[in-house]
Subunit: 132 residues, 2 copies
């Protein structure tokens, strides 16, 4: 597929970016996470909410999430594709309403030709929030 008119990063490169995302997030490096995104990227978290768009909004989103002390635990190897999307299945460990909680999530990221994330969609429902 990489020889078509719309080249895109290969499957392994997309997965490496997903793992860098987790590493930077868990290091509290919101700037580093935001740097993985294209300038005009969108984040829909959770799927069904109004997406946010653009680097400043995305940086603020991750600054907020990391300031809360959330931590991501990868629970299955990331999945690539034969196209421009890859999947990351993980748990978010965080405090919600003062109590320790786990949110089960699968992110789908789409990528631009330059390897940066163009869109993130976080699949988690009300029933994926577990107080532990």
């Amino acid at each position: 597929m990489s020889q078509g008119p719309n080249p895109h990063p290969d499957s392994a490169a997309m997965k490496a970016t997903l793992l860098a995302y987790v590493e930077r997030f868990n290091a509290g490096d919101a700037q580093g996470v935001a740097a993985l995104y294209a300038d005009d990227a969108t984040v829909e978290d959770p799927v069904g909410a109004q997406p946010i768009a653009g680097k400043p909004a995305i940086l603020a989103f991750y600054q907020h999430a990391t300031a809360l002390g959330a931590r991501l635990e990868v629970v299955a190897p990331p999945r690539g594709s034969h196209g421009n999307a890859a999947a990351l299945t993980f748990a978010v460990h965080a405090r919600l309403e003062g109590r320790p909680a786990r949110i089960d999530v699968t992110d789908i990221m789409s990528f631009g030709d330059d390897g940066r994330i163009r869109s993130m969609r976080a699949h988690w429902g009300p029933d994926d929030v577990h107080f532990v």
Copy 2:
């Protein structure tokens, strides 16, 4: 979200359909799997391939897959959303080129108001195929 202009099945209902999908697939019930789809649904497996569309093509797809003896192993609880999509992360156990293999996959399914699957996108890349 269920009170908006575009109602959709709730998160738990979507996840139940994903688990029924696995159960029927592993029972070799291609008709039962196809019955979970809307008549005009699409299947893009893997992401990046030409999607197939419509119930007859989808039934043929699952008849082929189940006839090959493929078996699905769920590796993380399915994730719902606040919208009309849910995620299933699993491994396909099958024989490829005469050898036992595992393919790591994350499916994203979108759902219609009637609870049937409108689209399936299977995220797996060339590097997600493991000979075991």
